[in-house]
């Protein structure tokens, strides 16, 4: 049975709204560790999710067997009916344009045209350029995928899209006084051309590891911090971005609830989330079939928008701005970011550090976690440098910093004029591909804690 026939049938049975999202994924994943190919795996899967709204109740049912789509749809309908009995609060969907479109994200070099051997050879070349005496271990990875989605709704939208993605990484390990690891990544929607960027990153990774091996332990305490574009990306995504996701706002879990139109950051701060920007989080339509668009979230320090899907947009009185994304057909769409960036300012790196008496310059992401309700965050940098009297002095290892999101946004006292974008995976708990980026920034006060 065709996807539209099932939709029509659910409509005839009285569902207030329903959509079907059918997906097919093809992927290749290769890893290499210390000269040995560890993983070469290719696979394909497909499935569909049916989503039904009956009264105020939702039912979501997914299947990996499209032959059972009629039964799946019936189950979703009965689940929605049952849930509507428990649901006291009203549910609705914001209006959206009906779209009938097919979109493909273009590939300069189609990944389907590149054979497995060439992809493996690419990793071999990268490995060769990392061969230095101080490097004890080299891990490399390559992943490509093509996702084809078809979304149809009872409102008449019917979207087909194809999203190709490539992600590559280098992880090198060295041993000095302690074991240290450096990770560099490149990733974006697009074709095999995305891999080229990794050649440039081998030199950066080697330099970082060399510095880390002679790095000193981090100081602890409250001090100013300069963070690089990778960490700015992490900060705008994790500390700020999750707090403007509509579902977190409407559930009462955001420190930015009710703050639209208020000044929440320094005037130097402008933040946007843009799925149309080329990055690892790009998409032509979201998983409700709403056309992707740029969303300016903070303009010169003022909170001007949230990221919303149709349901949370309705709750907040906003139109959907295309924020619904699901990890795959198994799960329902949640409000998610795409490519989240802070706009560059006008300061050079030298100007950012010149007035710092004692502080830290933190570079590259090791990890991080946030509590968007409390508005607290904790991030770790792969490497850092001490700043003393406006000068970058010696390298530091094991640097973590934490603070309050709102205080930190207000404490952004310098914004660089450079820009960088990094790919990553966001887990909320579903995993989706995103990018985060921006310039170097100076935060006047944060708690720095080193590991013992």
């Amino acid at each position: 049975m065709q996807i539209e026939e099932v939709i029509n049938k659910l409509g005839e049975e009285g569902a207030h709204y329903c959509d079907i999202r059918k997906e097919k994924l093809q992927e290749t994943f290769i890893t290499k560790k210390d000269g040995v190919l560890e993983t070469v795996i290719q696979g394909e899967e497909r499935g569909a999710m049916v989503r039904v709204l009956w009264g105020n109740g939702w039912g979501y049912v997914a299947t990996s067997d499209f032959e059972t789509i009629v039964q799946t749809a019936e189950r979703a309908l009965s689940m929605a009916k049952s849930n509507s009995k428990f649901k006291k609060r009203k549910t609705g969907l914001s209006k959206t344009e009906v779209c009938k479109e097919q979109k493909k994200i273009p590939m300069k070099q189609d990944i389907s045209d590149i054979d497995l051997e060439e992809k493996i050879l690419f990793l071999k070349e990268i490995e060769k350029s990392l061969d230095e005496p101080f490097v004890r271990s080299i891990e490399l990875g390559y992943r490509d995928s093509i996702t084809r989605k078809e979304i149809a709704t009872t409102e008449g939208s019917h979207i087909c899209m194809e999203i190709p993605k490539v992600f590559v990484y280098i992880a090198i390990i060295g041993r000095g006084n302690s074991i240290q690891r450096v990770l560099e990544t490149s990733g974006s929607t697009g074709g095999y051309e995305v891999t080229r960027d990794l050649y440039r990153k081998t030199g950066i990774a080697l330099e970082k590891l060399k510095s880390l091996l002679k790095a000193k332990p981090s100081p602890s305490g409250v001090m100013p911090i300069v963070i690089d574009p990778h960490l700015t990306g992490l900060f705008v995504h994790e500390a700020f971005g999750h707090a403007v996701e509509g579902d977190i706002v409407t559930s009462g879990g955001s420190c930015l609830e009710g703050k639209l139109g208020q000044k929440i950051a320094s005037e130097k701060v402008t933040i946007r989330d843009d799925p149309t920007l080329q990055g690892y989080g790009s998409l032509p339509f979201d998983d409700e079939g709403v056309k992707a668009r740029n969303r300016t979230l903070v303009k010169k320090g003022v909170l001007v928008d949230y990221i919303v899907d149709r349901e949370n947009g309705w709750k907040l009185g906003l139109e959907s701005n295309g924020g619904a994304r699901a990890e795959d057909f198994r799960v329902k769409p949640l409000v998610r970011m795409s490519n989240t960036v802070m706009e560059p300012g006008d300061m050079t790196f030298e100007e950012l550090v010149e007035d710092v008496k004692k502080g830290v310059y933190a570079q590259s992401i090791m990890g991080g976690q946030v509590n968007p309700a409390k508005g607290t965050f904790q991030f770790s940098a792969q490497i850092a440098h001490l700043i003393e009297n406006g000068e970058i002095t010696y390298p530091l290892q094991n640097v973590s910093f934490s603070g309050s999101t709102l205080n930190s946004l207000k404490n952004v006292i310098g914004v660089g004029k450079d820009f960088g974008l990094s790919p990553s995976l966001c887990r909320k708990p579903q995993t989706v591909t995103v990018s985060g980026g921006g310039p170097h920034i100076l935060i006047s006060e944060t708690t720095v804690g080193g590991r013992t």
Partner: protein
Amino acid sequence: MKTKIAESVEEVLRYIQNENCEGDVFGTRKSTARYAIMKGEIADSSEFDDIGLGIRVLKNKKMGFGYCIPGEEEKGVRRAVESSRFSPEIEIALPIEKRIHEVKTFDQGMEDEFHSGSGARFVQAIIDGVLSLKKDIEPTGGEFVAVRETRIVGNTNDIFLEENSTFVHCEVEATISREAGSLKALEVRNSRRFDIDFYQLGVEAAEKVDSMREPSPHMPRNPPVIIAPDALAQLLGYALLPAFYGENVRSGRSPYRGKLDERIVPEKLSIIDNPYEDWGIGSGGFDDEGVVGSEVPIISGGVVKNFLYDLKESARSNTESTGNGMRRNFKTIPGTAHRNILVKGEQQCEDISLHGDGIHVDTILGVGSSNPMSGGFSVTADVAWLLQKGENRGRIDGAMISGNFPQVLNGMEFGNDNKKTYFAVGRHKVIIELPTARLENISVIKK
């Protein structure tokens, strides 16, 4: 009657043999029902039925992988054979043991509830539990997840192992809304059975957030840390246990390399991986490569006794698999992972929180940035309170705790409770059963 997934596994094995290869196949069918809690009510529910096959072939000592869904078995095997062309040679002996440990992993009662679709009743009990304590405490988020899985591993040595399991996870976030920012606390339970008191879970979440209303009057310098099982399990799972994986030991990424049979922590501490414990969250009669092993003492009486191995790493390290070859799902290749860790120490006879002064850390943030190679960690104590003579003297905001394994284990004492914990973040899955602990060798930084 054979299930669809069992037929598919047999089909894959036939195609592998037709290609003149050895190999194995991991087949899984997982049915999941999930209910979401939002703002005091059930927000929605979802179900999915996931079925797939992870394939490994060994051709001329070269190993290749592929995955597919039922109906596409031939394609899946072809992909695996193609990828094997690039593999280095490796001598892997696929298991031959056909008998599995009889481990209790399947709760018929839960299966019955699963099919009756009555999850909403349990979720309502959680909500009612939170609402029962005080008017201003609300259940603002949470979920109830019930899983029923059939897992099959078959190989060309004629083994065909099949096991059914059930699992339930529920969590609820209790919130006090205030002008000065809301206060939140989370309570989590995991079990293979429906032995959870759902109402009580809600009550405990409400009590926890209720105890955090007042900020602590001061912060002591370098206090001992009483750490809740969920938080400690995360630290152990991320910053310590990977250091005992065979590959990390062989490649010099573990501080415990060369320390087999050496005492590294006090005699009273033992860490055991026992996937054959009845009703253990990570328990199962065989690993995802079809290896039927036995319990693995990692640290026993303070002494390093074993490292953990899957089939590939055991071949490289010239030893035997310890039955720790696990797949995250059918789309990933097997790799070493701990399965059902039990942490045992000399337990105090009373509630460890009643011992004198310190800070009680309930929830941590940032554990993913820990360094298992050095054992170092630095995390934010996201939900914590000050203890004076065992009394909660107010919440502590914005403290960071940092330390290093195994030093932290050296100053550790255990309470008399025990909790089954489960976390999955990214490719890391942490399943540990452990008590509350008191840590001495740890630094606390507070703004």
